[in-house]
Symmetry: C2
Subunit: 197 residues, 2 copies
């Protein structure tokens, strides 16, 4: 399940045209699906979507920004939603994310992280995406906090960052194989901390 509302990752001056936007994103997704990352370029997307390259660049300032938008739309991971049991919610979120990445969904994301290390435009796209995800996960932690399931002095965005950074490092070192008890041990560590009781 993907999120019903995909917030925009780029602040743009011009209004997007929903139909063109959809055509561009569909073309981008199709190119990725059929040819993989090697086939992906703004040029190829423009050709397939019958859109002008300037139009694409007006809405997505870099190839990485467009890749991240396609990646996020395709991400078969339930959004981190608080359902009344924050430990279970975090378990489910982490389990689904690692499993989606392991099934192949992580390839685009890790390529963007790699590209961001040498390319300022990709770095900006990644920074924006990561900030948005921290806010999103943070909002879920904040809800749990309001319900008394998270200590009142915890920083929700920092907790979100701890979760995502752990997942990233698993992706980047090919260690996505985590059993349920391993994920539970991780969530327990995050929950209980390390201070002796």
């Amino acid at each position: 399940m993907t999120e019903p509302r995909k917030p925009r990752r780029t602040s743009i001056g011009s209004q997007r045209n929903p139909e063109s936007e959809e055509a561009i994103l569909s073309a981008a997704a199709a190119i990725l699906r059929e040819g993989g990352l090697g086939a992906f370029s703004i040029e190829a997307v423009a050709r397939r979507a019958k859109a002008g390259k300037p139009t694409i660049y007006r809405w997505w300032p870099s190839k990485a920004a467009l890749l991240l938008d396609v990646y996020h739309r395709q991400k078969e991971v339930s959004p981190p939603v608080y359902t009344g049991n924050v430990r279970g919610d975090l378990m489910r979120f982490m389990t689904e994310l690692l499993s989606y990445w392991k099934r192949g969904g992580g390839a685009v994301f890790r390529s963007v992280i790699a590209e961001a290390q040498g390319d300022p435009a990709a770095a900006a796209a990644l920074a924006g995406y990561a900030a948005e995800r921290r806010i999103h996960t943070g909002a879920m932690i904040r809800e749990a906090q309001a319900a008394g399931q998270v200590r009142p002095d915890a920083d929700p965005e920092l907790i979100g960052e701890m979760l995502s950074s752990f997942a990233w490092s698993r992706l980047l070192t090919n260690r996505l194989d985590m059993s349920e008890p391993e994920i539970a041990a991780y969530v327990d560590s995050l929950f209980d901390g390390i201070r002796p009781g």
Copy 2:
């Protein structure tokens, strides 16, 4: 300060010759210092160290493995050592690591992470290095645990991984600027967990 003993990251069949090893590592460091990453290649290192490429490849199976060895030797970060106050030790470790990376020391490491996303040899080198660092940080946590400063059911290597993954994600998203209170808030989160008291 760097660690007095640098454990080897590669399991090799042949015995290393300490003098040649030193010559190769010094040449590699000089090339990085003078020409940056763009100038770094096994070929260039071999030429400068007056060593054969097969010798280098026998001891370091990839360019990334050699880069990581040089990076680790140059890393001006005190090793994570337990001094009797684990919270202070973790604060110091994180502060020094982010500060070293920010001063420019992170460039090599992030380039290896990037390269590892597309190149199996670099991925193997990174995986080996990350595993070694987890064990090293884990040993420090284990010491603190033996002294009663860390809860007995915490997994030391998992805690080490939480620390390093957080630092990695800061490096990879150009967010190395953390104030002392921000680092303290992070270490507190790790310490106290998120479960309400």
